[in-house]
Amino acid sequence: MLKSPNSISKLQYWISILIILVFHLLLVYRFFQVQILDHDLYSKQADNNRIRATSIPSPRGLILDRNGEIIVDNYPTYILYGIDAEILNKNKNYEIINKTTGIDISILEKNYKNNYRNKFLPARLAKDLTISQLSRLEEEHHNLSGIIYKQFPERIFNQKIRASHVLGYLKEIDNEMLFSNATNNYQLGDLTGWTGIEKQYESTLKGKKGVSYHQVDAFGRETEKIEFENSILPIPGKNVYTSLDINLQSLIEKEFEGKTGVVIVSKPKTGEILSFLSSPDYKPDLFTGLVSNDDWKMIINDPNKPLLNRATNGIYPPGSIFKMVVLIELLERNIVSTEWSVLCTGEYEYFDSVHRCWDENGHGKINMKDALVQSCDIYFYEAVQKIKLDNLYLRAQEFGYGQESNIDLPNEMKGRMPNRDFMNKLYGKWGWSKGALLNIAIGQGEILSTPVQMANYTNLIATNGDTYPLNLVRTKINKLNRPQVELKNWQIIQDAMREVVIGEKGTGKLSDPKLPGLSIYGKTGTAENPHGEPHAWYITYGEKNNEMISIVVLIENGGSGGTYATPIARKIYNYYFNSNKSKLAKN
């Protein structure tokens, strides 16, 4: 053992030492290069690593009602992030989050996959965690790895009302908007108003994000704040004061429960909207993420389309409420006098077809005022023979038919008012006859309008044409174009509409709460439609001591306007002019 002698030559010894020295000198040179020669470069890089500009979200402005009551507020929620590089056991983390917050593991997995950018950047796992969810999660903190959270302000809604169609909701900005809105300082993941007031007044509500400088570690976690001269504080969004009356809205929502349709209450003189309901609607917090996936699916698949804003985007034949336009056309062109009358037998033969009045027994000999009060169709069939379609079209346009209502809500529909060109295009030049006018005269057929158009129409009649478009927020707006109607003719129409409510045979009798000093005007409509029962319309306005409101009620497939739509108006009048008058009159 150990018998072989050591026989190393001096050369081998020196070569070995040389090799060791060469390797070490190579390292010395390399460190010299990186640490001394490139010191400046890497110092700069280190600072870039270290300090990160972070945007501070600006609290969104609140939405308030006309009395200053908050309708939409902010409250803190938490967003949960996972950092891949720090997560030790993904499934265990998911299980704990599921156990403490009740969020589905599959949702966590999906979110994580969708939001994953790289292993060092936090990927969003869940949002809208409440403080109680978070505190339960915090208790399990020692079992979690790589899970962090950030506070985030979320919308919270006044529980008294839903008003979801008018308030609208927020949604994460999409790529298309992001690029078209480059100037507005949005980032991916930011929320933006998607519908309703939230969208319309986005620039007011949004505010301006701030920037702060933080020392961050490699995982993007902020470790300490650095006070920089050029850090920018966020500018909170401005509040939006709406003309809505939360109590009135609440009453109407209760009254209208279970019905499908629209109720709009406004002030004819200013166009201010006091109440705005499109039913069915949805809980306004549907989009804040507090609602479960099942609720969401139910709403999406609901055949009643609760997401559709029927007031701005539902188009309906106006039915008899259109008749005032026909009368004004007759009067303004002096086609007939108010005394001109028609014999209504309940039937009207036009060439080889028979058109019926809604009252099969007929109204007998009937003049203009009675024709409107009793909504006699035969009178209008006869009268419309004397009218040119294009003239009627222009007249209807003056009252907003087929025109945007200019309400301050996004994406409204224009409806449709036919003229000759339109009819020619639709049916061919010889494909339609004056017989089509019979339908148009009673607001059926090709005419389609939205409830907000009808509210403007009502307000125009109530103010002799001197008013503003419907509006939720009082800003500088232009008045509606004033229809060219003589004062006496306004009065004829208004008298007739008054008679609708107080007359023996008036169709709007049920809308009068019979309050002293309150004069109510109205017109019912029963719009035939191919989807079943006719839609019930009622447009009305009431005045007492110079205080005036107008109401538009539409009940989809609600049957006769006089029977079903008018009682709702009565309750609104009763409420407005009786109990809360003093409070409301202030504004």
Partner: protein, 407 residues
């Protein structure tokens, strides 16, 4: 008995311990600095290292006083045992995606390939000294390769490229040390270099010309010259095909060394962050605990593979130079011990262990400074890591043992 042990310890070349403990101190300072702000598991690196230090020193003393005869006699047995040990992790479960560690129920994992490193060296030393090899003969050079190749192959499958590299490394210097023909060693190394140079057409061409010159001037049969030359050319050309068989993470590591900016968050990310830490440290460093790259965790695996970046950032170029001086003087002292050793067995063990240390130092430092691909090799005495600390101190113990000149 006790007296005998004491005598042994006293007669050992204990001067090298000065370097070792200086290096250890630098390492502990850095680990402490890392632990200042870090929470939970990572903060224990400093304390765990301290905890391992006791057993490590005991093992060092043990391997210092162990009878050379005993080691010589049992090393083949130990070689067999260590082959089994490094195969054991394959029967356990994967830890961190590899089969490097054995989890035997203690709070610490055990990495048997760390033991295998020095077992291979001593086995080779016995083989080369016992058989009084005719190392001038080319074929006789191949048997020692086989000894190292078996465990290397197993470790390569764990997979642990770095350790596999370290295991193969001592073979060449040890063969050189026993007087193998440098040309033969060149022939053995040449194919590997042919593969490495195949990365780049120009480098490869230059290398092939270099082989041509050496082969041309070396006196051997023409037929041999032609075979050697074309074998290397062939290897370099076939390499792109073999490349495709590599595991993705290995490819990544190699590729990111060529151009770290390619993949800023993969292996290249580590190199960029490491160079940023080193470079921003400058000459004097930012001060212990003041390194932003370190403290903010921009540096990956800072307590083990990238601890040099911590030294560079917080203590600066000055301490890096001092550290390299300590390493160089330690290794030179070891070579000198090998030169003066009384027998070939001892001399070979010392030179083998020296090679292992040099491999670790060079690979780790140049990886940190972005010279070579990222390989998971720790820095002796400085990096955190239980098994590695134990085996490093054992190897120092063997140096003390075999470097002792018996009175």
């Amino acid at each position: 008995m006790i007296l005998n042990i004491w005598k042994k310890i006293k007669n050992s070349p204990n001067i090298i311990l000065l370097n070792v403990f200086c290096l250890l101190t630098i390492g502990l300072f850095c680990l402490y600095s890392i632990s200042i702000i870090q929470e939970e598991s990572s903060s224990q690196a400093f304390y765990k290292q301290l905890l391992f230090l006791g057993p490590a020193i005991l093992l060092m003393i043990f391997s210092t006083v162990l009878s050379k005869r005993f080691i010589h006699k049992n090393i083949y047995l130990l070689y067999g045992i260590s082959l089994i040990l490094i195969s054991l992790p394959f029967y356990g479960s994967k830890i961190a995606g590899t089969y490097r560690w054995i989890d035997y129920g203690f709070p610490f994992l055990f990495q048997p390939s760390e033991i295998a490193k020095w077992v291979i060296v001593i086995t080779l030393a016995r083989f080369l000294s016992d058989n009084n090899l005719q190392v001038k003969n080319f074929i006789s050079n191949l048997a020692p390769f086989a000894i190292a190749l078996i465990p290397t192959f197993i470790v390569l499958n764990q997979p642990d490229l770095g350790t596999a590299f370290i295991m193969m490394l001592p073979v060449i210097p040890m063969l050189y040390w026993v007087g193998a023909n440098p040309f033969h060693l060149f022939l053995i190394v040449a194919p590997f270099l042919s593969i490495l140079t195949a990365f780049n057409v120009i480098v490869f061409t230059a290398w092939i010309i270099f082989i041509g010159i050496i082969v041309f001037f070396y006196r051997t049969k023409l037929w041999n010259k032609v075979v050697i030359f074309f074998l290397n050319v062939f290897l370099g050309l076939i390499f792109p095909l073999i490349w495709n068989l590599l595991r993705p993470y290995q490819k990544n590591r190699i590729l990111s060394s060529i151009n770290p900016e390619l993949d800023p968050l993969g292996a290249g990310y580590q190199v960029i962050q490491s160079k940023t830490a080193l470079g921003s440290g400058g000459f004097f460093g930012k001060g212990l605990g003041q390194g932003t790259q370190t403290q903010l965790k921009f540096l990956p695996v800072q307590e083990s593979d990238f601890i040099v970046s911590v030294i560079g950032e917080e203590l600066g170029f000055l301490v890096i130079i001092f550290m390299l001086f300590l390493f160089a003087s330690l290794l030179i002292k070891m070579v000198s011990l090998a030169f003066h050793a009384s027998d070939r067995f001892s001399s070979l063990i010392i030179i083998g262990i020296t090679t292992i240390f040099l491999g670790h130092i060079f690979v780790n430092c140049s990886m940190t400074a972005g010279l070579i691909p990222v390989k998971g090799l720790p820095l002796p005495f400085i990096s955190y890591g239980g098994s590695f600390l134990l085996s490093s101190f054992m190897m120092i113990g063997f140096i003390l043992n075999f470097g002792r000149t018996e009175p």
